[in-house]
Symmetry: C2
Subunit: 234 residues, 2 copies
């Protein structure tokens, strides 16, 4: 019998879904989970996600570098912001990263009870599809959204992942059907599809347009971050 | 300056939206708001929505007839269930209807603080579009969903209404963009589009297939139910 695949369009809806017996995929395309995948692909040792900013800063004492954003902008005093281009090259190798963001790390915190928690992004789409298929457990894709509201880019990723897994999982949740349909409408030109979305307009104002293109590029990396003892590792 | 139009895909997300200064359109296509529109179009005097089943039964003392469902099925002892075909003909004329349902009347209860609260369905799509345009206030479309989860049919209606109002309102909410896109994909064959949806499968099991076709038929009625002193009237 096939396992089920559901899509939770906002962390505010997570209490409506069973989590503990599932593989949960957390997604925050612009830009937290795209950064996490990039960092581990470029040799970071591990990422410790924090919902709370102060706790994230405390991790410096344990040898972590601080990373992330609030309201889309780098936090004063942090080592890195929330652009995937900050997580490449020699400087990231072997680093332990303490990471906090407006939406993505909040969604991880809320999903911690999952049987398996993995990190998804377009950058590792095929790899995350393969890992989920191999695990075989029921799947819940948790879209980080924006401050609780549904957003388009995370929904599109949920649709892309659902499409990849369609032959091996059952889709009975209307949100999953909506996501897959939106992805099919958008997939030939995702940047065009998203140009009126709230987050793309917000990022354009912050002048990080090249991040948008990169975060929408499929299969740049093979790494699939998975949560083990509170740390995301590959 | 144009007013904004947002879409709240589930009552569980309503706290994220401003309600008090807005025209709120509550929608529960299968079948609460479709029944309400049908009842008032066929001459019912008014509808009193109840979130609570016991309170709904109490309204009998005030001369109301009882109507509605729990989990898609008529409540024992109620005068009417939740099929629009029960709200037609001579028997509905002049009646005061006390109405409670699993999702629709809960969404109304949560939206009561709106500047104006109107009831939307495909059956009165054009009329509700016109009334909203005339009111001119910012709009929030509240989809009743199913027990808090997002559903396709209410999202499609939100998209249809948003499309009608596109020239006169600004759409900045990603949920509104998602809804309008889904509606455009579905509008030439909504029944086909919805055939795998959770609620259509549930209703098919309950053997109320003809309700589905009827509830998806646009512009059968001109009535626009509006909440005045706790009563929905036309």
């Amino acid at each position: 019998m096939k396992s089920s695949l559901d899509v939770c369009l906002s962390p505010e809806l997570l209490h409506l879904y069973e989590v503990k017996e599932r593989t949960v995929v957390v997604v925050d395309i612009f830009r937290a989970t795209s950064c996490m995948v990039t960092a581990l692909a470029h040799g970071a040792a591990c990422i410790k996600p924090f919902a709370d900013l102060e706790e994230c800063l405390e991790a410096v004492k344990e040898g972590f570098e601080t990373s992330g954003e609030r309201n889309g902008q780098k936090v004063d005093g942090f080592d890195r912001g929330n652009s995937p281009f900050e997580y490449m090259g020699e400087s990231i190798k072997g680093k332990k990263i303490a990471f906090t963001t407006t939406n993505g790390t909040q969604a991880i915190e809320k999903s911690k009870q999952a049987k398996n928690l993995v990190i998804g992004s377009f950058l590792n789409l095929k790899s995350v599809s393969n890992v989920i298929g191999e695990l075989g457990d029921p799947v819940l894709i948790v879209c980080a959204g924006w401050k609780g509201r549904v957003n388009l880019e995370d929904t599109l990723f949920a649709g892309a992942l659902a499409e990849n897994l369609l032959d091996h999982f059952t889709l009975e949740d209307d949100a999953a059907l909506a996501a897959i349909n939106l992805y099919r409408s958008a997939k030939t030109d995702m940047e065009g599809f998203l140009k009126n979305s709230s987050h793309v307009k917000r990022l354009a104002r912050l002048n990080v347009v090249k991040d948008i293109s990169f975060c929408l590029t499929a299969d740049q990396y093979q790494v699939v971050p998975i949560l083990r003892s509170g740390l995301l590792v590959s």
